[in-house]
Point group: C2
Chain length 297, copies 2
């Protein structure tokens, strides 16, 4: 994130409701409406930044929906519906086809939205898409990234690095499977099952190490990760482990559970929550160096 963007987000956070401000930092807003806890998120995607120019628009539509639903999954929320903000592109019919497929797959209705055309007067620039997803929280308190307690176990629902391998396959035009990058699957059922048990939960869209550090910062603790058990995709060369744990786009859930609590879904324990030490994140007992993941902007 550039300092300009950080300043802008800080300025927006100053405008936001206390408690709602976290909705501006890769997280959902939670809002009481008529006895329900509504969970709200809005994520954008830009051609050439969040997807490869020339990628199948049906896959782009799928990913736009999936990344927003992943934010709901991290709250244990049940999706209610979505609103689409769409800049017309090269193959809108194909986008609509992919969106229809994804909405049907996840059982989520399209509620509304807006479509616009870029200006004709200057270069059309990159296509920009936005999606707002609404969900209903299924338990109280709604999980957040800020509740991890010293002594808790740190868990993850699945491997990291599969999206990276998929991206590389797509970019190189190889025949290797790129599904994990093109059509991520949000952990909605897992999120709902975990929500009543976790002390903290988030999705790891920006890379395991970066998102783990964010959880540690939000919770005021240190997360000590053990590299050995971190699940990696089959076929990942061992020298690429560091890439896999910093690349992002995997949409697994990272969560913490009190000692003795077992997760009600497939998951792997990858660390322990410690009292806040010098560093918010330890990997194999040392603060990891270099970039930890994908910084937005």
């Amino acid at each position: 994130m550039s300092s300009g963007e950080a300043a802008f987000i800080a300025a927006l956070q100053a405008l936001a409701l206390p408690g709602a401000a976290r909705g501006l930092a890769d997280d959902c807003a939670v809002l009481g409406v008529g006895g329900e806890n509504l969970v709200l998120t809005h994520d954008m995607m830009v051609e050439g930044v969040h997807w490869l120019a020339g990628q199948d628009p049906a896959d782009v539509a799928w990913k736009l929906l999936a990344t927003n639903l992943s934010d709901l999954a991290a709250k244990g929320a049940e999706p209610i519906g979505v609103l689409l903000g769409y800049t017309l592109g090269a193959d809108d019919a194909r986008f609509a086809e992919g969106l229809g497929e994804a909405l049907a797959h996840f059982g989520v209705p399209l509620l509304g939205g807006d479509t616009v055309r870029g200006t004709g007067g200057r270069s059309p620039g990159a296509q920009t898409l936005g999606l707002t997803a609404l969900g209903r929280a299924t338990c109280r308190p709604v999980p957040s990234r800020s509740g991890a307690c010293p002594g808790d176990g740190v868990w993850i629902t699945g491997p990291v690095g599969a999206a990276m391998l998929g991206f590389e396959a797509l970019q190189s035009g190889s025949t290797a499977d790129s599904t994990a990058y093109r059509r991520p699957v949000p952990r909605l059922a897992e999120g709902r099952a975990l929500a009543p048990l976790v002390t903290a939960m988030m999705d790891i869209s920006d890379g395991l190490l970066l998102d783990a550090r964010r959880m540690a910062e939000a919770s005021g603790v240190t997360l000590a990760l053990d590299p050995a058990p971190i699940p990696l995709p089959a076929g990942l060369p061992p020298e690429r482990t560091r890439d896999a744990i910093t690349w992002g786009d995997d949409y697994e859930l990272l969560f913490t559970l009190p000692p003795g609590t077992e997760p009600p879904c497939l998951a792997t324990r990858i660390g322990t929550v410690l009292i806040r030490g010098e560093h918010p994140l330890l990997l194999d007992q040392a603060a990891p160096e270099g970039p930890l993941g994908y910084e937005h902007g």
Copy 2:
């Protein structure tokens, strides 16, 4: 609207929930949540299309909020909050300043959102913004554009054409007042006061004639407008009346009331609802020719 965009919107509408589909066509979605009727809208704005390149970003922020709140006003809804989708631009700090001013003015909290940077690899293109507004309906049934009945009066809350004059002042660099274009004021209080009384209501963002025809089509009636009483801004040359009633961006409310019902706010009666005849819209007893307003896309 191009045929491609119309086909795309038709494809999206086929994906939408029955009853929610209208949220894709310049209207809000209405959704029951926890005993409340939630009203949802998402509108986008593109540099060079919805605002002049080089315009004060604080005014752009104001307008982005105001246009979305105007959709809520047309439902008689009380704003709950908004989510922002923001592509970083030339002066983000100034945008945040204007957004803060507008949020405070309308008493609406920022709940969350996302910021992205366009690609560096190609021309940055036009800045694209999106905003999702949530509101709480204050009466049932929630007003829509589809309830106008033969015999109803057709009313409007204020003048049309002021935004056009403001735009022209801004574009020409004259000293004339451009506030109506730069900082429109959604008719939130009027919308709430009118909601229990109206048979149909909408805001007229795209031009009086075009939006009146949309209301007529949605209601299956003919709207017969009388040009004489249509309120126009002071100083409008008489030969520009046609421009004023087709230009749009005024954000007044257009509504229908049963015979004998008087509006509880300042408003002007400009016509009568008729049984559907050959044309959905009559102006001075004839179907108006030529473009009726701003067609999206």
